[in-house]
């Protein structure tokens, strides 16, 4: 105990500090260990961290307008807080110069698209302006407004000013259902609030899928854990079977099973449970998404649960029974608390996978069963990479928040994934 009280004074036999000697002695082993993980580290860096960093950068950076309109940029920089309703002649002069340059450099589309993200309908406006730019005579203000009255729009000038900087938070504003109006950024109307609603819906559906998975997986995992080895390995193969089947094949079988003219509906009609005229809609809506995703994600709940349950000795339950507890009390107070790390790990895994799930909702979700990932993919296909990146970043942030909450409430060291 006296040694612990004075750790700083400890030295080796030849007088070197003990800590230093230990570090030297272990350095070689540590370097070798590092070499072993280096390939993986490089792989993760290249295929995971760099793309994520790039995505985050794309969500705040877009030089589509700022690169092709230097004159206007300079003017905006020199005149902060100008009157959006009535920009002066110099502003219009700079704009016309830039439009002419765009026409020359063929960047009208890019610049127009950039403004179009916040002010819809500007691509054609820019194309028209650019085509006419080199023939316009001063005063440019009147000339341009004569060409198209939209050039005097307050919203447009606000949008152009915001886009004149390479870095912007506009995409996050759009992703948070804000809308650029003449008065600046405001909340969109009820029908325009699609992103936050979809985020909410995604989390809700993911939570529902997690709960269903947990309810289905718990008995299965328990059975796997208590059955003799020969029977449990057979059952384990059944659990893992979905993993060995293509996702597309699995999803297609659900379509065959659940669609309006599918097996289940035919069976129900044949049994007279539902009339032929009102067959159940179980595919191409939220029901389809939930059913198919639960099936896909079920093994991710079963496996962590199984790994936790397998090492709970049956003597705990026996002890509880011998102490006078009914089987229900034994389950609730002895067995269930000990499976908590597995429940937490499985739920976290299933929830995070569900929140980011794309292919199943895309195939079976129809219009109603789409999740946020499908919208991200939609914006990627529409080349609005920055908005897609902003939405993805918000998704990432919410998952990290969840992870942090989990760590605070349960502790990440209690996570048992298998």
């Amino acid at each position: 105990m006296t040694e612990a009280a004075t750790p700083a004074l400890l030295t080796t036999a030849d007088g070197r500090p003990l800590k230093e000697a230990l570090a030297t002695a272990q350095a070689r082993a540590r370097r070798r260990a590092l070499l072993l993980v280096l390939p993986l580290l490089a792989f993760v860096l290249l295929t995971f961290l760099i793309p994520i960093g790039y995505m985050l950068k794309r969500s705040v950076e877009h030089d589509g307008f700022s690169a092709s309109a230097p004159e206007l940029d300079a003017w905006f920089a020199a005149n902060p807080g100008f009157d959006y309703a009535n920009p002066p002649e110099e502003a219009y002069a700079a704009l016309v110069k830039d439009l002419a340059r765009m026409q020359e450099e063929k960047t009208t589309g890019i610049a127009g698209t950039r403004i179009n993200y916040t002010v819809p309908g500007t691509i054609s406006l820019f194309k028209g302006g650019a085509r006419a730019a080199k023939d316009l005579q001063p005063p440019y203000k009147e000339a341009l407004i004569a060409l198209d009255a939209e050039w005097s729009s307050v919203k447009l000038w606000r949008g152009m000013e915001a886009a004149s900087s390479k870095y912007t938070t506009e995409f996050y504003k759009v992703a948070a259902d804000r809308k650029l109006t003449d008065e600046g950024w405001t909340r969109g109307g009820d029908k325009e609030r699609i992103y936050l609603y979809l985020f909410f819906k995604t989390f809700l559906v993911s939570a529902l899928i997690t709960v269903i998975c947990l309810l289905l997986a718990f008995p299965v995992a328990h059975l796997l854990a208590v059955l003799p080895m020969s029977k449990s390995s057979l059952l384990m193969i059944l659990v893992l079977l979905p993993f060995w089947t293509s996702l597309l094949v699995r999803t297609t079988s659900w379509i065959a099973l659940l669609q309006e003219q599918g097996i289940l509906n035919n069976l129900l009609v044949w049994m007279g449970v539902v009339p032929d005229a009102s067959r159940l809609q179980m595919m191409y809506n939220m029901t389809g998404t939930v059913v198919a995703m639960t099936h896909v994600l079920l093994p991710f709940m079963i496996l962590p649960l199984y790994s936790v349950m397998r090492v709970i000795p049956p003597s705990y339950a026996r002890a509880a029974r011998s102490l006078g507890a009914t089987s229900w009390t034994t389950f609730r107070r002895i067995y269930l608390p000990q499976t908590l790390p597995g429940i937490a790990a499985g739920s976290l895994l299933v929830f995070i996978l569900a929140v980011g799930y794309y292919i199943t909702p895309a195939l079976v979700g129809g219009a109603d069963g789409q999740l946020i990932s499908n919208l991200i993919s939609f914006h990627m296909s529409k080349s609005n990479w920055s908005l897609a990146a902003a939405l993805a970043a918000m998704l990432l942030a919410s998952i990290l928040l969840l992870y942090w909450l989990y760590d605070r409430l349960i502790g990440i060291d209690r996570l048992k994934l298998g």
């Binding site: 705990y316 026996r318 029974r321 102490l323 006078g324 002895i334 000990q338």
Partner: protein, 367 residues
Amino acid sequence: MAQTGPNDAFVAFEHVQKSYDGVSLVVKDLNLTIGKGEFLTMLGPSGSGKTTCLMMLAGFETATNGEIRLDGRPINQVPPHKRGIGMVFQNYALFPHMTVGENLSFPLEVRGMGKSEREAKIKRALDMVQMGSFINRRPAQLSGGQQQRIALARALVFDPALVLMDEPLGALDKQLREHMQFEIKHLHESLGITVVYVTHDQGEALTMSDRVAVFNDGRIQQLAPPADLYERPENSFVAQFIGENNKLPGTIEELSEGKALVRLATGELIDATPVNVTEKGGKTLVSIRPERVEFKPEMMPPGAHTIDAEVLEIIYMGDILRARLRVAGSDDFVMKMRNTLGQTRLANGQRIKVGWHPQDARALDPM
């Protein structure tokens, strides 16, 4: 054969049979009565059926046939939580997510006991095993011996009349094990509870029990107090399983009441007490404890047969000296001598004559 214990049978097994696979019997026709306040040990090698018997008594296994009674009441159909039997498990089975206090509180809570009464009982049980200050610890923070004590306290806290112990000291080191044996014995005496104790450690069985049931092959081979078991084994299995034992195979030459003359394979004649041999000319296995073998003529009864022996090895063991002898063609005949001041020191290769009191040589079944 029915084996009757004390008159007031508290636990009774009647013609109990158990089969797991429907092909073979793990427990074959068990008849056993255990008296109130008795400390009964089920001793036997692994697979002998002793743990199965305990599990049937606790209610975790159902008897395939026969009846088990507790305090006169048949309990075959009573679920484990309604039997009111305390149990200590081999690996303690303390609930890892609860503190020591919560572990002890559990059996009282499920019985719907009030808080103040619970606290009093928990305190009393913990004091009983000298663990009063550990009430807020978790099982993982305790040593094996401390966990053992808590497991014991938890099995006793709800005042069961019967406590079952399934090799409770198996995981402890020798010194601690011996100490706990004493403590369990002491608790048994002071609380007046009935204990059924399962072990494969014969030393444990002999030190602690009122009676020991030696199990082998699904049957009780002998049910007797420790001294009887050691000194008067009824068959070759018990003789070999309990303590060290010299075996001399031979045939019965003469059989008169309480005495047998046995001719060994090498031709020598020895005296023995017949136990479960019945006829002249039958095969037998004579069993003699090493500490009852004598080599000084003055220690043997007059007229006893002696037999030639060659000292092969002397092992010094501190309190005793152990001599390995060649007797009747076998190399592993052992003789134990007390290490006293005047003890004759034998040398390797020395030729001596050994003999014994006929009572100490028991002619048993040839196995």
